[in-house]
C-alpha cells in the first residue's frame, strides 16, 4: 500500500485543523471499508489520512428539533439496532442487505455518503426520506438537502476542509400515515453490489397519494430522485394506471450503463418493475 501519514485527532476541532492544512492531499478516514480498498488498488493516493474514529463529536444518534440526528461515524449495523433508527424502514432494509456483517460493523453512514458511489446502498433510502446533511469546517457548519450533495460518481459538494458531521432524518416523515421501503437487486443475496436499487417514501390521505418520493441507485452517475415520476403520482388517486405510468417515467428518467454485472437495458427494465413494486408495497402497508 502507498505510504501515508496517519493522524488520529481526538476532538472535532483537532480533526478540522488537521484537515484545513492544505500542504498535501488529505483524506478523512471513517470505517475504512471503501478507502482501504481504494488505497490498495491505488485509486486514491493521499499523503495524509485523518482517522475520525476517536472523534466523539461525530458519534451518537439523538432526537433534535423534529428530526433524528445521526452522527457521521455511526456504523451501518447501528441502523438495525438503534430504537430511533429502526422505524425508518427503507434505511433499515438497506442496512440489512448492505454488503456483509463485517462491513456493516465497520463501515459508517458518513463514509457511505462521502464515498458517493452511485450504488451506495443507504443513499436511495436517505433521499427518499428527505435527509439533510450537516457539514462542518473550522469556520462553522452548513446544512444542505442530501439531494444537493451528490454531484457525480464519487463527487460531492463537500469542500476539502469540511467533514460530514451528521445526517438529519425528518421525524414527521415517519408518521403512521407514511411508509418507506427499499429493494436492492444484486447478483446474490449478500455481499453484492447493487445492479439497481429503489427506495420509495409515500404519504397517504384517504385514497390519494398526498406526497411521494422515489429514489434510484446504481442507474445514474449519482443516486437519483425520480422527480418526474413523483409528479405523476403526487395528489393523485392510487390507481393501476398512475402506478404504471410513474414506473415507466422513472425508468425513462435514469441513465444506466452496461457493465459486467448487467446491461443498461436490463437495469432500466428493473427500475420499472421495482419502482412499481415498491410503490405497491408502501401503499399496502399503510
Amino acid at each position: 500500500m502507498r505510504e501515508f501519514e496517519l493522524l488520529q485527532p481526538k476532538t472535532l476541532p483537532d480533526a478540522l485543523d488537521a484537515l484545513a492544512q492544505n500542504d498535501a492531499a488529505r483524506r478523512p478516514l471513517g470505517g475504512g471499508t471503501d478507502l482501504l480498498v481504494d488505497l490498495r488498488a491505488k485509486r486514491v493516493q493521499p499523503d495524509v489520512l485523518i482517522a475520525l474514529q476517536k472523534v466523539n463529536e461525530l458519534r451518537g444518534v439523538a432526537r433534535v428539533n423534529g428530526h433524528v440526528r445521526v452522527g457521521a461515524s455511526t456504523p451501518i449495523a447501528e441502523f438495525l439496532k438503534h430504537p430511533l433508527l429502526t422505524p425508518y424502514r427503507a434505511l433499515h432494509q438497506a442496512a440489512s442487505v448492505f454488503a456483509n456483517p463485517m462491513i456493516r460493523n465497520a463501515g459508517t453512514i458518513g463514509g457511505n455518503i462521502g464515498s458517493a458511489s452511485p450504488a451506495g446502498d443507504t443513499l436511495p433510502p436517505l433521499l427518499a426520506l428527505d435527509a439533510q446533511i450537516e457539514l462542518v469546517s473550522a469556520s462553522g457548519t452548513r446544512t444542505l438537502a442530501l439531494d444537493d450533495f451528490f454531484l457525480g460518481p464519487r463527487k460531492t459538494a463537500r469542500n476539502a476542509n469540511e467533514l460530514i458531521y451528521a445526517i438529519q432524518l425528518p421525524a414527521k416523515e415517519n408518521s403512521s400515515a407514511t411508509r418507506s421501503c427499499f429493494y436492492k437487486l444484486g447478483l446474490r443475496q449478500a455481499d453484492a453490489i447493487s445492479l439497481v436499487s429503489v427506495a420509495v417514501w409515500l404519504a397517504r390521505e384517504g385514497e390519494k397519494i398526498r406526497d411521494v418520493r422515489i429514489a434510484l441507485g446504481a442507474v445514474a452517475p449519482r443516486p437519483l430522485r425520480a422527480k418526474r415520476a413523483e409528479e405523476i403520482l403526487r395528489g393523485q388517486i392510487f390507481s393501476e394506471t398512475n402506478l404504471k405510468e410513474a414506473a415507466r417515467i422513472a425508468a425513462a428518467e435514469c441513465s444506466p450503463i452496461d457493465d459486467l454485472r448487467a446491461s443498461a437495458k436490463y437495469r432500466r427494465r428493473m427500475v420499472n418493475v421495482y419502482t412499481r413494486r415498491m410503490l405497491e408495497q408502501a401503499w399496502q402497508n399503510l
Binding site: R2, L6, T33, L36, A51, M102, N105, A106
Partner: protein
C-alpha cells in the same frame, strides 16, 4: 512515513511492535505469528481474515493496525487450545465443516460473534451472520450444522 511503537492486545496477550501507518491489522497479526488469521481477497469480500475487535466481527484487512491500539483483538487461536478447544472448534472438526480449511478461522469467528449475541440462532440468522464468509470448497451445510451443534453445547454448558 515513520513507524510507531504500537501496543496490541491479541488473545489476551500484549505485544509492543513498531508498525508503519499503512500496515493493516491483518498483516500486523500475521507478522506477529497469528497466521490463523488468513489473508484472502484483501478487500472485505471473503471474510477469511475475520477477527473480533472488542467483541465485534470485522475484516482485519480493512483495519489499520495503528487504530487497533488499545482494543481487544480475538483471533481463532485465542478461542481455545488443542487441549481445550472451544465448542465451535470441536463441532467444526466433528461435523467435517472444513475441507481445505482456509475459510474456517473466519467462519468460526463470525459464528462466535453470532452466538455471543444470539445463543440460539435460527437458520436464517446463521446464514445472515456468515454471509460475509465465503467457502469455495464444498458448501455451507456442514458449517451450519456445526454451529447449531456448538450452540446447543454452549447452552448446556452455560446452564451448568
Amino acid at each position: 512515513m515513520n513507524p510507531k511503537l504500537v501496543t496490541l492486545s491479541v488473545n489476551h496477550r500484549t505485544h509492543h511492535v513498531a508498525l508503519n501507518p499503512n500496515t493493516t491489522l491483518l498483516s500486523a497479526l500475521r507478522d506477529l505469528g497469528y497466521t490463523d488469521v488468513k489473508s484472502g481477497c484483501e478487500k472485505g469480500d471473503c471474510g477469511a481474515c475475520t477477527v473480533l475487535v472488542n467483541g465485534i466481527a470485522v475484516n482485519a484487512c480493512l483495519q489499520l493496525a495503528w487504530l487497533a491500539e488499545g482494543q481487544d483483538i480475538l483471533t481463532v487461536a485465542g478461542l481455545g487450545s488443542s487441549d481445550q478447544p472451544h465448542p465451535l472448534q470441536t463441532a467444526f472438526a466433528d461435523f467435517g465443516a472444513a475441507q481445505c480449511g482456509f475459510c474456517t478461522p473466519g467462519m468460526i469467528m463470525s459464528a462466535k460473534a453470532l452466538l455471543d449475541e444470539r445463543p440460539q440462532p435460527t437458520e436464517a440468522e446463521m446464514r445472515k451472520a456468515l454471509s460475509g464468509n465465503l467457502c469455495r470448497c464444498t458448501g455451507y451445510a456442514r458449517i451450519f450444522e456445526a454451529i447449531e451443534h456448538a450452540a446447543k453445547q454452549l447452552n448446556v454448558d452455560s446452564r451448568g
